[in-house]
C-alpha cells in the first residue's frame, strides 16, 4: 500500500519549514532571530537538495523586500521572523499589501516592547490585525495553536494568498514555535493558479506587467483603496474560521487564540469539574475576526473573558463583537510568563462573579 502519511516529531518552526517545501515554496528569504531561527537553519539544510531558493538576507528590511520582488515575479515565497524583526518588515508589508502580492509571512511572537524577551507573547496582536505598517490594508491572519497547525497553515496560507492576491500572516508564538509535537504531513495536491500579472518578461502577446503601490492621482489612489476594501469584504465573508469547545450549553465564555487557547481549553475543563458551565471560542483567523459568532454567543452567555499573553488587545475586538450585550473582561500575563490553567480558572471565576 502506498504510504500517504508522514508522521514526525518536530518543533513548530521546523514543521512549518518542512511544510513550505512540501507546499512547493519557490523561495524563502530570512534573517536569524530567536525564537524562530530554526526555520532558516532547516531550509538552509533541506531546500537546496529539494529545489527552491533559500537566502539569508542582511536584515529583515532586505528579506521582506526580496519577498516583494520574488512574489512580484510570480513565485510562491515566504519569510518568517519574530517581533523586533517583524517590526522591521512593516514598511515592506504595507507595500506588498498595496501591490497585492501573494506571500506568506510568519511572526513567532516574543515578548516586547523593544528588544523585550525571547519568551512567548501575544503582544503583537494589534500589529498583526490592525495594520502594523502605514495605510489602509489588512493581512489575512492565521493563529495556529499546535505544531500540526503551524504546518497545516503553511499550505492554507499559500492558497489564501494566491486566491486573494493578499499577504497572509501566520501569527504564532515562541512556545508553539519551539515546542516539539507529533505532526502529520498528508500527501496533498498542490493548488497553483496562474499569475498573469507577474513580471516575468513582457512578451508580444501582452501588455507590460507593472508591480507598484504608487498611485499619485487621488482618483486613482482611491480606486485602488476601494478595490482593496472590496477584497477585504470578500475575505470577511468567506474566510472566518474559529473553533468552539463546550459552547452548546455554556453560560460563561472564554475567548482565546493560539497558545492561550490551549491553556483555556484546560481551564474550561477545570471549571466544568467545579460545575461551572464554561465554554471556549478560539478564533483561528484573527483577521477576519469571528465578530458575528461572538455576537450570537453574547445572547447565550452571561459574560466573556479573553485570555491573552498581553495587556489586553483582542479583548477590544470581542467588545466590538458583543457590542455591550454582556460584560467582557480580560486576563493576561506578560513578559513571557505562561499562566497555568488553575491560575486562569481562578481569575475567570473572580471575573464572572464580579460582573454577575
Amino acid at each position: 500500500m502506498e504510504q500517504t502519511e508522514d508522521i514526525r516529531l518536530m518543533k513548530g518552526n521546523e514543521a512549518m519549514a518542512e511544510a513550505s517545501i512540501q507546499a512547493g515554496a519557490d523561495a524563502y528569504f530570512g534573517y536569524p532571530i530567536t525564537p524562530q531561527s530554526e526555520v532558516l537553519e532547516y531550509l538552509a539544510r533541506e531546500m537546496p537538495g529539494r529545489g527552491g531558493v533559500v537566502l539569508q538576507a542582511e536584515s529583515e528590511v532586505a528579506s521582506i523586500n526580496m519577498v516583494y520582488g520574488a512574489a512580484g515575479a510570480g513565485a510562491r515565497v515566504w519569510t518568517s521572523s519574530s517581533s523586533p524583526g517583524f517590526s522591521l518588515m512593516q514598511e515592506g508589508i504595507s507595500y506588498i499589501a498595496a501591490a497585492q502580492l501573494p506571500c506568506l509571512l510568519v511572526n513567532v511572537n516574543r515578548g516586547g516592547p523593544g528588544l523585550g524577551t525571547i519568551q512567548p507573547s501575544q503582544g503583537d496582536y494589534f500589529q498583526a490585525v490592525k495594520g502594523g505598517g502605514h495605510g489602509d490594508y489588512h493581512l489575512i491572519v492565521l493563529a495556529p495553536n499546535s505544531v500540526q497547525e503551524m504546518a497545516d497553515f503553511v499550505f492554507l496560507g499559500f492558497e489564501l494568498a494566491d486566491k486573494y492576491r493578499n499577504p497572509v500572516l501566520m501569527l504564532s508564538d515562541g512556545a508553539i514555535g519551539q515546542m516539539m509535537e507529533k505532526v502529520v504531513f498528508h500527501k496533498r495536491e498542490l493548488k497553483r493558479i496562474p499569475k498573469p500579472w507577474a513580471t516575468t518578461g513582457k512578451t508580444p502577446d501582452r501588455e507590460r506587467s507593472i508591480i507598484t503601490s504608487l498611485f499619485i492621482q487621488p482618483e486613482k489612489m482611491e480606486a485602488v483603496n476601494l478595490l482593496l476594501n472590496k477584497k477585504y469584504e470578500e475575505i470577511c465573508k468567506n474566510e472566518v474560521r474559529y473553533e468552539e469547545i463546550m459552547t452548546e450549553d455554556a453560560e460563561v465564555l472564554l475567548v482565546a487564540y493560539g497558545l492561550s487557547a490551549r491553556i483555556s481549553h484546560k481551564t474550561v475543563q477545570l471549571a466544568r469539574e467545579k460545575g461551572i458551565k464554561a465554554g471556549l471560542l478560539r478564533p483561528i483567523t484573527l483577521y477576519p475576526f469571528p465578530y458575528e459568532r461572538l455576537n450570537k454567543l453574547a445572547d447565550q452567555v452571561k459574560c466573556m473573558m479573553t485570555l491573552e499573553l498581553n495587556a489586553g488587545q483582542m479583548v477590544e475586538d470581542v467588545k466590538l463583537a458583543v457590542n455591550g450585550k454582556v460584560p467582557v473582561g480580560h486576563y493576561g500575563r506578560q513578559g513571557g510568563i505562561i499562566p497555568s490553567p488553575e491560575e486562569v480558572e481562578e481569575n475567570f471565576e473572580k471575573f464572572f462573579k464580579s460582573v454577575s
Binding site: E58, G74, T199, T200, G201
Partner: protein, 268 residues
Amino acid sequence: MENNEIQTPDCLVENGETYDMVYERPHTLTGTRMHYCPGCGHSTAHKILAEVIEELGIQGDVVGIAPVGCSVFAYDYLNFDMQEAAHGRATAVATGVKRVLPDKYVFTYQGDGDLAAIGTAETIHCVNRGENIMIIFINNGVYGMTSGQMAPTSLAGMKTTTSPYGRDTKTMGHPIKVSELIAPLPGAFYVTRQAVHNAPAVRKTKKAITNGFKYQKLNKGISFIEIISNCPSNWKMTPLQTVEFLDNEMAKYYPLGDIKVPSAEDLK
C-alpha cells in the same frame, strides 16, 4: 484631460517635400511624455537604456526595478516589465526577482538618495553577494524629487535646501564615492562611472549599459554603472551651466571612466 502620448509621424512633410523616417523612438519606450525638467539627465539615461534593450532584442527577458526619487515613474516610460520598490530597497527587490527568475535580465535604476543613503546596506550586500544584475546609479548630488535637499553625494560646499550655507563636511559628512567603495568587493564584476551631458558621454554610457546586460549572462556578479547626471532645477542653473558644472566640478570629484573592468580571463 491632457493627452500625454507623444505622436510619432510615419514621415515628415516640409515645404511640400516628403522625407522618410530615418530614426524613431525605440519601441521599448512607451511614448508617454516624461515629467523630467528640461536639461535633466534622467530622460537621456532612460532613452539609452531603452535603446540598448531594443538593440539587444531582450525586451521579453527584462525585469527592471524603479526606485523612489525623481525616476519613481520610470515604469511609465519604459515598455517592459517593471517593479516599483520602496525607497532604498531596489537591490533587495532585484535580488528576489533574479533568484526566482535567474534567466532574466534584471536591473535596478536608482538615484543617489535611494542607493547611497537609505539603501546603503541593501546596495553593499547585494554587490557583496555578487547578484547577477545591473545597478544603474544616477548621481546628481541632490535629492531631486523632494526638491533639492542635500544628498550623500552632494559636493563639499554645495548649497542645497538643507545645507543652505553649503555642505560643511565637518558636520554633514563627506560626499560618498559609492563606485570606489563597492569596486573592491569580489561580487562587483564591472564598475564604471559615466555621464550623459554630451554626445561622447552618451555613447560611452550606452556602451557601459550594453556591457551590463551582456555580462549578466556570465553569472559573475554585479555590473555597477554610475551616471553623473545634470539637475538644472536643483543646481539652480541653466541646462548649459550644468554641463559646465558637471565637467568642472562634479567630474573633478567623481572622475569619469572605468573603475573595475573584467579581464579577458573573466570574460570567458
